[in-house]
Subunit: 754 residues, 2 copies
């Protein structure tokens, strides 16, 4: 067993809170550099067409005009697609969505860049746009790309057909989920500057500095070593700053490179909403065979995703939604097809959960639909099928440890008094309870294994202070705080000694993207690797200093003990001795996900190395008069393996749940011919504190042997079950199935027949 001091599991105040609440943290908009210019994107206002001409003739006499660049100015390769090579950095022939960038306008100020960009004439020969999944799937010509199918993944396991042929209960249902806008509070932005040696330095609001480095290398034809990317403090991301900053930064870098001057590009909110990626809308068809006792026998599941104009991260979304399509249940016979279709809408891509919230809405509404069909309690149905140690997931992966699904379900139902629900006392308000259960594959999974490694560099200073560089990033999720705690724990020192550096591409190896709830697992393990290398040096020096054996040295809470004679040194005395004895005090740590046995053709095998599990129970009150749904309380029980920072975990659970509530109830993303109508906070309604209700977090600790101190990821599990729980609760309240979201008041009234 791992020995724990009081650091792991302690409620730790965020190490970056002071700067963020006092305003001293400088986000990219707050940063200026000398001699800086400003850029704005010039883009298509048509959803689909042939680019005929770009005319900047009206503006090049403007005193604020500096330059205008189009695809022909790109010295490298005009390609920025992160997985598929389907997306030009600047469209040069076909434009595929309202927002498709065709040029970069550089001017003296941010305001004049926006003003002049709007005056560039982009002449387009208009094609009929493809605006829905159905239209895309059914098209026989005028494809957006080589075909309209962006990508697909599948699971084919057992023999579902024969089970369907004999099953007594076969239940079918369709579900739909909509776009969701990330609505990070800080729009996309960066500053690109020439380094004076032929290279480029970029600082920006971003999740994946190594993606940006690669994108700039490709666009400018520069080696990686000539490109440094540093993350600025980032005001929210949620996946929206995974690959999109590659476009933003590569465009700014192009201008900086051409002009040999620093160029800042900050998207306006309107441009940000119009140009950048969203959550994929899903259409889902579930067909499930169950026994009389409620055992899941077989499933046939079709997931269809609206990928928008470019694939971006669609492949990850289609992979993950397929791998988790039937949730954390035992189902030996299954067929899943998950397909992403191009449409002439803004691209959809990475968004907290990567298709999991959509699939979870599907499987959890399906479970309640089955329970209703069998007149069985929804919790009872789930308990009959739930994944446990020594069962297999829907992809046939045998689970050996850390399967807390049942415990999350039991703790949540107990906390919510599921068996003693309180009925409504007011006939106008209908009360409903809904449960939703999920599993979430940690990190990138079999399809992304090749890039699922991460690094840290720990530097012990002579005075006993410690700097840590890591390859993932803080983007609001509390990474700096968790890294601080884990480093302190690993080295036996107080968290106050630790400073975590801003992430940049020079400090650490390419550590892959900050996505998929990877940080604690990847960075924590890399920290342990670094500590494994550093501790022998520390102990050897301590043994010299204290004249004892290596195994008599114990380093704890910033003290170095000689366990034989109760002698002790301060940590800084040890580090000073390390320095004076000429020992190197920097160390690199690395960890990669264990290799996974997985067959991409059948989709059978180890899809992920481990899973987080969660149960959300929602209690809602539905106003039958106005159709308004009030979320009174959500009990959110999460198996996170081991809590590193309970305060941070609760913040993640609360944030994710709130985002799930918005997606389920208030966020109603509207487009007209590809133009986003809900492009501000007046029309796109994020849930406020009043909409969120009470959230009770329950932490279930079922340690994952491969996780650092047993920990698993929480970033995404936090949002995934929420919409399903709410829809189930509303269905329970009003007695009608609610199979699509958002559940706006008009929908409720319609369902109620009012």
């Amino acid at each position: 067993m791992v020995t724990l001091t009081s650091i792991i599991g302690k409620r730790q105040k965020r190490v970056d809170s002071r700067g963020k609440v006092t305003g001293s943290t400088r986000f990219i908009t707050d940063i200026s550099v000398e001699n800086m210019l400003h850029a704005a994107p010039v883009y298509s206002s048509e959803p689909f067409g042939k680019l005929v001409e770009i005319d900047a003739g009206l503006i090049d006499q403007d005193p604020d005009f500096i330059a205008f660049y189009t695809a022909k100015d790109i010295p490298g390769v005009n390609q920025v697609g992160v997985i598929l090579e389907d997306q030009p950095l600047l469209a040069d022939e076909i434009v595929r969505y309202h927002g498709d960038s065709v040029g970069i306008l550089v001017a003296k100020s941010h305001e004049s860049a926006l003003r002049l960009a709007a005056q560039v004439m982009v002449n387009i020969e208009i094609f009929d746009p493809v605006l829905s999944i159905d239209q895309s799937r059914n098209a026989t010509e005028n494809f957006l790309h080589e075909s309209n199918l962006a990508c697909q993944h599948q699971v084919k396991r057992g023999d579902p057909e024969s089970k369907f042929a004999t099953a007594t209960h076969i239940i079918e249902a369709r579900f739909e989920t909509p776009f969701q806008e990330h609505y990070y509070l800080e729009p996309q932005g960066c500053i690109a500057q020439p380094d004076g040696q032929g290279g480029i330095i970029v600082i920006g609001s971003l999740q994946c500095p190594f993606y940006v480095q690669k994108a700039i290398s490709k666009a400018l034809g520069l080696p990686y070593s000539k490109i440094k990317v540093e993350q600025a403090p980032t005001g929210g991301a949620f996946g929206g700053k995974e690959d999109i900053p590659s476009e933003v930064c590569a465009r700014a870098a192009l201008a900086a490179f051409k002009l040999n001057r620093p160029v800042k590009m900050i998207y306006s909110r309107t441009d940000d909403v119009q140009l950048t990626s969203k959550r994929h809308p899903f259409q889902m068809h579930y067909k499930v065979a169950v026994s009389d006792e409620g055992k899941l026998l077989a499933a046939d599941i079709h997931l269809e995703e609206n990928a928008g104009a470019y694939a971006t991260l669609s492949s990850v979304v289609s992979y993950r939604s397929a791998m988790q399509a039937m949730g954390p249940y035992v189902i030996p016979n299954i067929s899943v097809e998950s397909k992403s279709y191009y449409t002439n809408l803004p691209p959809t891509g990475a968004f907290r959960g990567f298709g999991s919230p959509q699939a979870a809405f599907g499987h959890e509404r399906m479970m309640d639909t089955i329970a209703a069909e069998l007149s069985m309690d929804p919790v009872e149905l789930r308990l009959k099928n739930i994944l446990k140690v020594d069962t297999e997931t829907l992809t046939g992966q045998r689970l050996n440890s850390s399967v807390g699904a049942e415990e999350t379900l039991l703790t949540a139902t107990e906390a919510a008094c599921w068996n003693n629900k309180i009925p409504s006392s007011d006939p106008r308000w209908k009360i409903g309870y809904g449960v939703s259960l999920i599993h979430y594959g940690n990190c990138l999974g079999a399809a992304g294994w090749f890039m699922d490694g991460s690094g840290v560099k720990i530097k012990v200073h002579r005075d006993g202070s410690i700097s840590v560089a890591f390859g993932l990033v803080e983007m609001g999720q509390g990474a700096l705080t968790a890294v601080t705690q884990m480093t302190a724990e690993a080295l036996g020192v107080e968290p106050e000694r630790i400073s975590v550096l801003a992430t940049d591409t020079e400090q650490v190896p390419d550590s892959g993207p900050s996505v998929a709830s990877r940080n604690v697992v990847m960075t924590g393990n890399a920290i342990r690797d670094a500590a494994r290398k550093l501790l022998p040096t520390l102990k050897e020096a301590a043994a010299e200093l204290m004249d004892c054996d290596l195994n008599e040295v114990k380093i704890e809470h910033g003290w170095v003990h000689n366990t034989r004679n109760a002698g002790a040194l301060r940590f800084k005395e040890l580090t000073n001795y390390l320095y004076l004895s000429n020992r190197p005090m920097d160390v690199l740590g690395w960890w990669h996900v264990p290799q996974l046995e997985y067959d991409p053709v059948s989709g059978v095998g180890e899809a992920y190395f481990t899973y987080s599990y969660a149960t959300h129970i929602a209690k809602v009150a539905v106003d039958t008069l106005t159709g308004l749904v009030k979320v009174e309380k959500i009990w959110a029980s999460h198996d996170i393996g081991r809590a590193i920072n309970p305060a941070g975990l609760e913040a993640q659970i609360e944030g994710g749940t709130a985002q799930g509530i918005g997606w389920a109830l208030t966020e109603n993303f509207k487009l007209k011919l590809g133009k986003v109508l809900t492009n501000n906070l007046t029309t796109y309604l994020l849930p406020t504190a009043l909409d969120v209700g009470e959230i009770q977090s329950i932490l279930v600790e079922d340690p994952e042997p491969e996780g650092p101190w047993g920990a698993k990821g929480i970033g995404e599990p936090a949002i995934i079950p929420t919409a399903g729980a709410i829809a189930n609760a509303i269905s329970n309240a009003i007695g009608k199935p609610v199979n699509s979201i958002p559940i706006i008041p008009e929908r409720i009234l319609e369902l109620l027949g009012n």
Copy 2:
């Protein structure tokens, strides 16, 4: 034997030349940051006294005035002495030289900072100043510090007294060498800025980023982890930016910390000359016993150094001058005392050679004096006594390898046609030849062993480009180029793949100071250590890719060969595979100097781990009419173990020789009551191209087993023998001993009796 490809030993163009010749390199004066203020030092104009009052009352209403800070504003410890704790960051009680800083004036512009700083009234109760070594040594009260002796080192070996009692020839002489101003073209300067998280970031023109980090930590009471120091491209240093930037940067950091705004401080040339350290003036007394055959029997040597007001690096100067006091000769009985005395003059400290040029002037003039006494050819005398393998240095260190002294002497004399010297054809011009021979202990030596380790971080990018961070710095000496070559050689790739990063304190472990000709030896060995760690990973991956055994993989010139079947891959195919197979591609390297057996009391033992050797022969023409000395040619033969970059070595030899010519002939540093009179280039005459004459570099390669590819240091050996060679040549030309420098025309005329 080391296998060499064509990279080591190839004449490599400087990798930083383009920026430096086109002006695109941005030095610290070229850099501005947003919201930046400007600081200037306020200092004493008296050489010695009690600080009575500092009155800024005249200026605090000035619209450009921002703030004025004195010692009482320092939150940490008011102490910046690098070895001895004798120097306040800001004087608060006693001022000890004209230039002793008492405050920092912050204003809106550089110009107003200088203007307002000059208006601060510094009232001092004047003491009698100590202006010479003799005055300092003989003082019985009113010491500058606890005593007037700053530090001392000694060598006591064998029994010189009994040798003197019996020797047939006992020769005595006194020698004197003057101040030398570094006169780096770029004055001291930095920008200090708050990092928004309670820490400080400093970028500056400096040699030793880790010294600056330590100084700021002490002054501000911040942990090291909260202080990042980055070196800006540095326009010359020569030791003058070893410890002085600690003062400059800590003062700017204090202002930045107090104001929570960036503060730039660039010294004016006048302030720079007045405030910062110089080369120690030496007074030397040599007494040497020799046999009739010219064998050195015993020596009694007294070196006295003018340390100025604070010790700074005096201890290193006194150590090194003692360890090398009798040069590269066998002398079994010796007593050396080397003492540094405080005076009320600008501090003297680190300067290319650290006391070696002074001691070399002493021992080489002494050798010629002995030769004259014995009527022996100076080369013959030296050959009789020269260090070889299996002899012992004056400190009793047995030399096992890489002792190229004799080869430098033989190659130089052959090149100069020493035995067929060309006499003068014009009676007005007297021609003379002088030889000078030196050894130079590489790196910090026994007294500095505890900090004689250095590190690198090598990052291999996925695209096969490579970034290298190192802990020492480029300051004009060609470090970036040598690091590029050594990394390319160590990894088997082309130099074009390599980018060397600007040095900062976060990237690599504390690597000690960039002094003592350390870079090639320390960084080169650290690169080899890193390569030793990285190559097995590269080869393992290559063997997987090419389906061969590890020992069949050969990486050379950017190609990866399978030696069994002549298969080959490009290096970037290998690095891409490394990435995809989840192998970490960053590696740290470290090297420290082997431990040294040395007794600090007797000064006997291994003073340094190895030595560079050099012979300079000067041919001068002395104008008997005007007293002008023209250096016609210098043959400079250097044993550098192994040439990494012959072009860089020659540049170092030419630069060092030119600086030695200036010290010997043209640079006539003058003070009046501690005020520097020669504070600009009109009055302090640096040698121009016309003054330098022809320099012929000869590279002797006698590989040092502990050096990287056999290499030893050249930075300092380049200057050390020059003044002795010139003085010997002038003595030879005019037939009168020239025992002090600078040898200005007036001195020549005086010696000639004109």
